[in-house]
């Protein structure tokens, strides 16, 4: 069935006693203010929690009750294990790897709480785990997190130095610094960062 307003397939349907039937695609339904099903649930949640997800790397994540050390460590915007950036999650609604939950815990916790009607902790089945206690993380998340935070900090410093070098017309030095920035950015963004298969 076609959408009443455009050529897309209609996936949202509304029946009213007075107005009859409406058949719209998700985009047109959102525009018309109709409730759209869970395909967009995550997108809506992200929009509602944009404040916590937009926290800059230099600010501590205040909504992170389970991470008391968060005040000392800057909030991470890139997962140290898989290189997924928080901005990528904002766009797709999908995280990159299990470690993203630890890396972005402060930013994700309010969103998860909202998505699950106020629930903050799992109860129910727990799996057998290879590394001792159930679900012990496979990499030292805290260490990896600190490392990534350090890299992000270093990027800021390097970028500042590039500006200074250019201003002082030290172009060779600026080029070297730029190469260093690129190297770190690639490390942070690579899906194989940390080689999780081994």
């Amino acid at each position: 069935m076609k959408c009443d307003r455009c050529e897309n397939e209609a996936t949202v349907h509304e029946w009213t006693k007075v107005g009859g039937e409406k058949h719209l695609c998700e985009q047109c339904a959102s525009k018309a203010g109709l409730p759209v099903q869970s395909q967009t649930q995550i997108t809506q949640l992200i929009a509602q929690n944009i404040a916590s997800l937009l926290k800059p790397a230099s600010e501590p994540a205040s909504e992170s009750p389970a991470a008391p050390g968060a005040d000392a460590t800057p909030a991470v915007t890139v997962c140290p294990s898989c290189g997924t950036a928080l901005s990528q999650f904002r766009n797709s609604g999908l995280l990159g790897c299990p470690d993203c939950y630890a890396a972005f815990e402060g930013q994700l916790a309010p969103l998860i709480q909202r998505a699950h009607e106020g629930a903050t902790h799992h109860t129910g089945k727990t799996p057998r785990s290879r590394s001792g206690g159930p679900g012990a993380p496979q990499v030292d998340v805290r260490a990896a997190r600190a490392l990534a935070a350090e890299r992000v900090k270093k990027l800021d410093v390097l970028k500042k130095q590039i500006g200074e070098a250019v201003a002082a017309e030290h172009y060779e030095r600026a080029a070297k610094l730029r190469d260093e920035v690129r190297r770190i950015e690639t490390e942070l963004a690579s899906p194989d960062a940390g080689d999780m298969t081994t």
């Binding site: 029946w15 609604g93 999908l94 299990p98 699950h116 629930a119 799992h122 109860t123 057998r128 899906p191």
Partner: protein, 389 residues
């Protein structure tokens, strides 16, 4: 073997799907039940982020473990061997056919990176997608309202994959650790539970859903109340083909929205005892109302639908589905007596383009399909053939 694909034969398609049987509880309203668990392996990125090599690696690990399933469980619920299908290597026709049969999702049918599905043939009630949004999407389907049975089986398979197996010679429910080293180490956090690519699935990773046939609520305009009520109870109402799909032919899928904070059994209990009975009851009352208070109007709708299906010479799925829905209502309301509900249930599957082509074992253009579909309706709904299937 058909050139269209090798996963299904024409006979298999003709035989229908066992989860559409009509001998189970409440099957007048609840067509089928489904429990789905989402799982990922620790130490590997989720499929969307994984490289081809990582996807293949995850798939090899999962497949090796799946391969060891044989005769798991007991009695009617025993799970025999699962058949593995490399989805990325199957024909487009096979993939779409599996989507139409609810064995894989539309998303899983797309793309050529390593991806697969393990299916319990011949009943097709268990299907385990590998490398969908999560590495493992395990689903168990049942005819009628049988969520507890579906959860039992899903739980058993899940535990087996995770290296927890029923104790040999032990009582039901007794388990022990599997000594063989190939069990799967799941990604899990004590706080967020089973970790999934999308945070809306964390916790139990469990989605319970039922496919309901609600023609009377739709015809009386009450369906919007159900939508609102279920939404208030954090349930999602979706179409026949799941997320983002059309509520074709008044078949609605209702499922839980939240997966974190409650144990599996509690989620299931609330869904089954506190939500569904009201919807089932509401639909039955609406059917009664239609037959008692608006009899002629209802008969008119039902018999026009049956007439069209019995005599049309060309028909699209979009036209056929609502008509089949009205005929199904007519049978259950006692107005139509020479057609079986099971026949209608199977026709709902068979009207879909790839089912039709596989049934007749030939590729057809749209016009040819419309004619073939109309012929199929005439053959299966013949006035004197009450039990054609």
């Amino acid at each position: 073997m058909s050139e269209l694909g090798t996963v299904f034969t024409s006979d298999q398609v003709r035989g229908g799907a066992s989860w559409l049987r009509t001998d189970a509880g409440d099957s007048d309203v609840v067509v089928s039940s489904r429990v789905r668990l989402a799982r990922n392996l620790a130490g590997l990125p989720f499929p969307k982020k994984a490289s081809k090599v990582q996807k293949q690696h995850a798939m090899d690990l999962i497949r090796a473990r799946l391969n060891r399933i044989k005769g798991l469980g007991a009695g009617d619920e025993i799970i025999g061997r699962l058949q593995w299908i490399d989805v990325h290597q199957t024909t487009q026709s096979d993939r779409t056919l599996m989507v139409e049969r609810h064995l894989i999702s539309k998303e899983h049918a797309r793309g050529d990176d390593p991806r697969g599905v393990a299916i319990s043939f011949p009943d097709e009630q268990v299907s385990i997608m590998v490398n969908e949004e999560d590495q493992i999407r395990l689903q168990v389907m049942r005819p009628g309202l049988q969520l507890a049975s579906a959860l039992r089986q899903a739980d058993l398979i899940d535990s087996f994959l995770n290296g927890v197996v029923p104790r040999a010679g032990g009582a039901a429910g007794e388990a022990e650790m599997d000594r063989s080293p190939d069990w799967l180490n799941y990604a899990f956090s004590p706080r967020f539970g089973y970790l999934t690519a999308c945070p809306t699935n964390v916790g139990t990773g469990m989605r319970v859903s039922v496919m309901m046939h609600l023609p009377a609520l739709r015809l009386t305009g009450e369906i919007e109340k159900v939508r609102r009520a279920t939404k208030d109870m954090s349930m999602a109402v979706r179409g026949y083909y799941g997320e983002g799909s059309d509520a074709a032919g008044d078949f609605f899928q209702i499922s839980n929205q939240t997966t974190l904070g409650k144990p599996e059994r509690v989620i299931l209990h609330e869904f089954e005892r506190e939500v569904l009975p009201y919807v089932v009851d509401y639909e039955r009352k609406a059917r009664l109302f239609m037959v008692q208070k608006r009899r002629t109007q209802t008969e008119d709708t039902v018999f026009r639908a049956l007439g069209t299906l019995r005599y049309a010479r060309r028909i699209t799925p979009e036209e056929a589905l609502p008509l089949l829905s009205q005929v199904r209502l007519g049978i259950l309301a006692g107005l139509v007596t020479d057609v079986k509900v099971s026949t209608v249930n199977q026709l709902v599957l068979l009207v879909q383009p790839h089912h039709l082509q596989r049934l007749l074992d030939r590729e057809m253009d749209q016009d040819a399909r419309r004619e073939a579909r109309a012929e199929l309706m005439r053959e299966w709904l013949k006035p004197d053939a009450s039990a054609s299937a």
